[in-house]
Amino acid sequence: MTVTESAPAREVGSARKRKEDQRLITGRTRWTDNIVLPGMLHIVMVRSPFAHATLTRVDTAAAKASSGVMAVLTGEDVKDIQGSLPNAWPITPDQKAPAHPAIAVDHVAFAGEIVAAVIARSAAEARDAAELVDVDYDELPPVLDLKEAVKDATLAHPSLGTNKSAFWQFDSAAAGTGGAVDEAIEAARADGIVLEREYRQQRLIPAFMEPRSVAVDPTGEQLTIWSATQVPHFVRIFTAAVLGIPESKVRVIAPDVGGGFGGKLQFTPEEVITVLAARHTGKPCKWTETRSESLVSAHHGRDQWQRLTLAATKEGRVTALKVDLLADMGAYLGLVTSGVPILGAFMYNAIYKFPAYQFNCTNLFTNKTWTDAYRGAGRPEATFAIERLMDELAAEVGVDPLAIRELNWIRHEEFPFTSVCGLEYDSGNYEAATSRAKELFGYDALRAEQAQRRASGDRVQLGIGVSTFTEMCGLAPSRVLGSLSYAAGGWEHASVRMLPTGKVEVVTGTSPHGQGHETAWSQIVADRLGVPFEDVEVLHGDTQVAVKGLDTYGSRSLVVGAEAVIKAADKVIEKAKPVAAHLLEASVDDIEFADGQFTVKGTDKGKAMAEVVWEAFTAHNLPDGMEPSLDADATYDPVNFSFPHGTHLCAMEVDTETGATRMRSYVSVDDVGTVVNPLIVEGQMHGGIVQGVAQALWEEAVYDDAGTLVSGSFVDYTLPTAADTINLVTDRTVSPSTTNTLGTKGVGEAGAIASTPAVVNAIVDALRPMGIDDIQMPCTPERVWKAIRSAGGTQGAATAGSSAPHFDAGESEKGEVL
């Protein structure tokens, strides 16, 4: 649109308060568990307490005789109709995966796997009866640890014959995008710096606040499924594909959905079972999980060992990076389980100009809950590894961590830049973001205080952590997904419907669950069509309304989904122009559109959008042959990924006597391109940063030796509280994306990707004079204290063995993947 001096204030860029809030703050909500239908039955799952066992008998007689019980389904009952849950990302042609039944038939591979489903009049009766299901298990030895799993001595699925699901490699020399890593590493061994480190990405649990719930109504001609899901369109497709129900007979609704963070990017056993139960009983059925059930059975995230070899010149210019991953799939491959590490494969080189790069990943099965997408999915792991390594390199060279980054990063004038992975970063300004972050943080003053505390031997040491991240999001160009063997595309769909009364309906294929699409899409369309913000209604999350879509994950909704909205809105304008021209008795070529007005070039004649819409509705006076509708659809396939970036700085105080840590300050300056709504963007950053901080400090899914999840409730899985966290300083620089109309970049995952290494770098920075160069996450007071103790607890002590590089000399030269 042409911007003139008299133009009204733009919606894009304004801190609109959210449309979504009114219902949510008054309790007028429609969570899946709120849905009650006449005759509705309730489902409670019976789950295996054993991590690995053969099922020898499932006796349901007593449960079936219990009050109010309609049916009890076992694996034996449904084995011929339940199909196998899908994996949409076979990363290699020879990827191995076990069949994935919704209800186990004869083998359970993790504690929490469903062995029976009780269907009763009330949830309480179903729960009572579930206690009466008598299951006999023959326990098998579980494999739980990745480094054990890779040996194949104990198998998670004996029928597979191995724990290895797939091996995947990217090599810059083979791809023609860079040099050979091994040559560069050898050169650095001879005359330069080689850093070898091993980092642990602990297992996390997405822990969305709304427990998952599924309700299925089989009484209509179409089966209607309500699900607390991020991906209603996926659920529809897979219900059809897995259960053999015609897709046209399935309607999926994601009503109000209480958070996801990737944890609701799944097609679940419970969705399959609720459909089967509804069809079996002919009644509406609902399943809602307890929190303990959620923690043990909803997919987990992360869980990798990362072996890293970084080569650099003596001055600290990186010459090569080699990554060897062991990635824990858990017991099964979920929707994108196998692809999560691959989403990180192209991000270890981050914002830097590395001439040679190699990524090797071995995906392994264990007898634990399966892993899958969790906020960032692969990219937090990559960012952690490289940002930790850059701090190590700075320490090795003896310069400030920001200086080593600046030496290696892509300079502003070098954009667009093609990375060593062959990705084209469209825009960015690492200098500007870093400069602003330093200013807000008071970097130099904090460094001075750190020096003073070190000099005085203060019991409380201060550490400063840096994370200069980028990430690839906005999933995703369909052709790239195809080249990576992902089963679907990455486009998004939208419709814009011009109602005769002047209101506008925007239908989006994205499926928000807290992100504020209703508000942001309204702002965009208000500007585009020149209509009031309040007159735009955004519809989503029901496959009968939003008939096409690929849903919400991977920071894709704005950069892909809203771009489809823009293209649909632009089509409306183009469809309206001939009508306006006809009404104005002008040539279409002379019609201009701005701020909701169609005008004839060089005249003061014009028609408002609402008038043109009304004419199209009555169709009394349209140009000959014109369809009486201005409504338009658009399907948009992105041309590139989105590359937000930012500089995050964290100050941590570490009590060297107790190991307690305290976050002193946290500053982030993010560049997410053009901002549609700063309120929403800041909210995304706050939440993302705290999730990343929680990985650094508090959260871990812990299993005992038998494969029982011991952090299986909110007592033990320690989400951060208001009392654990601090106010964050968030600011932005703006380098508009050059690959979409508004110049936006993804923001949903950025905070979680950036913050984890900033926190751990700060703790390590505080303790580095003691010879400590790593503390495994989560950096609990106990782990910090033990690191200090093993390092001697005093400044200048020799580096403890446990803190030294975890490699035998020359081991990595063998070029083997473990």
């Binding site: 008054t26 606040m209 709304e210 929190r291």
Partner: protein, 156 residues
Amino acid sequence: MTRITVTVDGVSYSDDVEPRTLLVHYLRETLGKTGTVVGCDTSNCGACTVHLDGRSVKSCNVLAVQADGREVRTVEGLATNGELHPMQQAFHDNHALQCGYCTPGMIMQSLDILRDNPDPSEAEIRQGLEGNLCRCTGYHNIVKAVQQAAKAGAGS
């Protein structure tokens, strides 16, 4: 079954309940007060927080029979004549919610904080909200909202 009489958001109800019924299930399933939600099973998350005789309780941690003869207020009973309560307004103004699942509990607990202390410090607000979990906001804007509500006199 046990007969209870409870006033919820200004309406008196008499019902027969199983003695084991939790207050939150009575509110949601018997009364249809689905604005109050369940987020955990260990009384950690606070999503189900309501007021019982004016004080915040986690309604998953109270039996329905314990509410007999008492008054319950939920998030659904805060707005009057279509006007948002200042605490609700503050949550909206400060973008203190994203998915909104923790919000009913957060709002009810925030009111309880201001009842005890109409002018709390940031640290006192954070301490007062420790029993309510939010996964979306990082708490930053929730704290700001409570500060705004305190300034607006929501606690007086």
